[in-house]
């Protein structure tokens, strides 16, 4: 593992928060995923060694929690809430709009590598349904029109990078 010095020092610091090292499994996985983008087998072995665990102890955590992924995703991560309050106000249409805009299917990386669109469960913002998280940002009342607008914005940013 080739982690940035800043990440490594955050890792060493967070381990001190707990009386047992194993408790730092989730924090370490978050830190590594934030830097690398996903959790590789190498990362699993590295975390296990760091915390004095067997790789299976880390592997079973990675495979259980929906937020950890074992493969890279698109440059931007679009998470559309699927659960009832959002669905009642058009969440499925919101998701379909993102899929169409980026020629992709929920759960897959778009052909241009720009986004991964995903359906997730309740994001605890049901009063402003339908809601979408793009990377760390929450977007509220995302109907189909607003989904189109957000897609255009992402496309424009991608264009500007080229």
């Amino acid at each position: 593992m080739n982690l940035k010095p800043a990440t490594l020092s955050q890792i060493d610091e967070v381990i001190t928060h707990y009386p047992t090292k194993r408790s730092a499994t989730l924090p370490l996985l978050h830190l590594i995923q934030e830097e690398v983008g996903f959790i590789s087998n190498e990362a699993i072995e590295w975390v296990a060694a760091k915390l004095g665990l067997q790789p299976i102890n880390v592997y079973e955590v990675v495979t259980f929690y929906p937020m950890f992924r074992q493969k890279p995703i698109g440059r931007r991560h679009i998470k559309v809430c699927r659960t009832l309050s959002c669905a009642l106000l058009g969440g499925y249409k919101t998701c379909a709009t993102f899929e169409q805009e980026f020629h992709t299917h929920a759960g897959e990386v778009s052909p241009d590598g720009e986004v991964t669109v995903e359906f997730v469960e309740c994001l605890a913002s049901c009063g402003t349904a339908p809601v979408v998280m793009i990377d760390d940002e929450l977007h509220e009342k995302v109907d189909a029109a607003k989904a189109k607008q957000l897609s255009d914005q992402i496309k424009a940013e991608a264009q500007a990078r080229k």
């Binding site: 707990y18 989730l26 929906p66 659960t83 009832l84 499925y92 309740c122 605890a124 049901c126 009063g127």
Partner: protein, 453 residues
Amino acid sequence: MPAPAQRRIIFQHIDEPGYTNDLACYVKHGGYEIMKKAFQRPPAELVDEVKKSGLRGRGGAGFPCGVKWGLLDKKSGKPIYLVVNADESEPGTFKDRYIMHQDPHQLIEGIMITCFANNVKQAYIYIRGEFPHGARILEKAIAEARAANFCGPNVLGSSYGCEIYVHRGAGAYICGEETGLIESLEGKRPYPRIKPPYFPAVLGLYQCPTIVNNVETLCHVKHIAAMGGAEFAKIGTPNNTGTRILCVSGHVQKPGYYEFEVGKITMGELLNDVCGGPLPGRKFKAVIPGGSSAKVLKFGERFKGKRKVGAEMVDYDWAVEDVPMDFDCLGMIGTMGGSGGVIVMDDSVNMVEALANINAFYAHESCGQCTPCREGSLWMKKISSRMVHGAARPEDGQLLKSVADQIAGRTICAFGEACAWPTQSYVAKFGDEFKGYADAKKTAKPGGVTDLI
């Protein structure tokens, strides 16, 4: 009669222009003064105030907070932990989010009073992974509070020290269940533990006595310390004291969060007067009163029985609109106040499709330890999805019910009940819709109807 006014105690500063989430603003508004006074008192007195207050947990079960603290094993010689349940994962619930993002110091003050009262020297805030900003805001607020000696070593210059750390979840609903949460904090899969023997108060985090409380509950502790338990108990209704935040979502004109004295507002006042009623041209059809797990209520049904008011037993005969929004009344009519998440559905919704949406949630979130829950939630999802996307049969409602009936009471944690109650109540109350779904599907849907599954 117009609906009673909101009484904002916990949400006093939420959405207030100019109110920021930093320490300076909090202190300017009198922040940490209550904690300073509380630290002058014997800890046992603070526990007593909370007992007297009648405060019931706001996370879902409504368990009396003071009683929970009283169950703590204080003689074990092991450290006592406080775990703050900031997982906010019950669908329809969105209140802790605003406390943590906009008023994090209120939570920290509540945590510190709780820790002092119970001799806790280490607290963890378990925040759901989908609140990355919330986690950063809390970490910053804790650092500010620590620098000002409101937490950390030598709190307020005393010999008492208590650290607070933020621990992020990673997208699993079952981490909201207190023993699943504890397993997750220990770095494992969040498999709930069986009770007995694993009551957190005795064998919790690292097998030590542990208090698990919801974010909103701990904020109330601050206000109980301020006004005293007896005064707090005058707010709300007997056995349902204080205020609580009701989160309304779905088909109303003005969804949002509203704080009322518990039991002082009825469902009808909340939905019609406060939330502006149904969307134009629509009628209310069903409402889930306390998060997606709570049993659904059908507009038009009536609830009759006797209940205690003061010392007397009185008859009640309620429509859905008449039901007071408190733990006991909602429990009496066969559902629950739960997490305070009120999800409203109007007459554009087909209940088979609504159930299919919820069943997909539970099938995704079952931790898989117990066969009835793992298999049952999956089959309920498969059956209800098949009804929508494939062929629907008149007997499917009964089939769904037979699966649900075999889950509740046969599992390690309350998720078993949580996933069975929607199916049981939808089929019981909207049975005709399940019987007639095959025909209903043939007729074209009215315009504007949205897919739910």
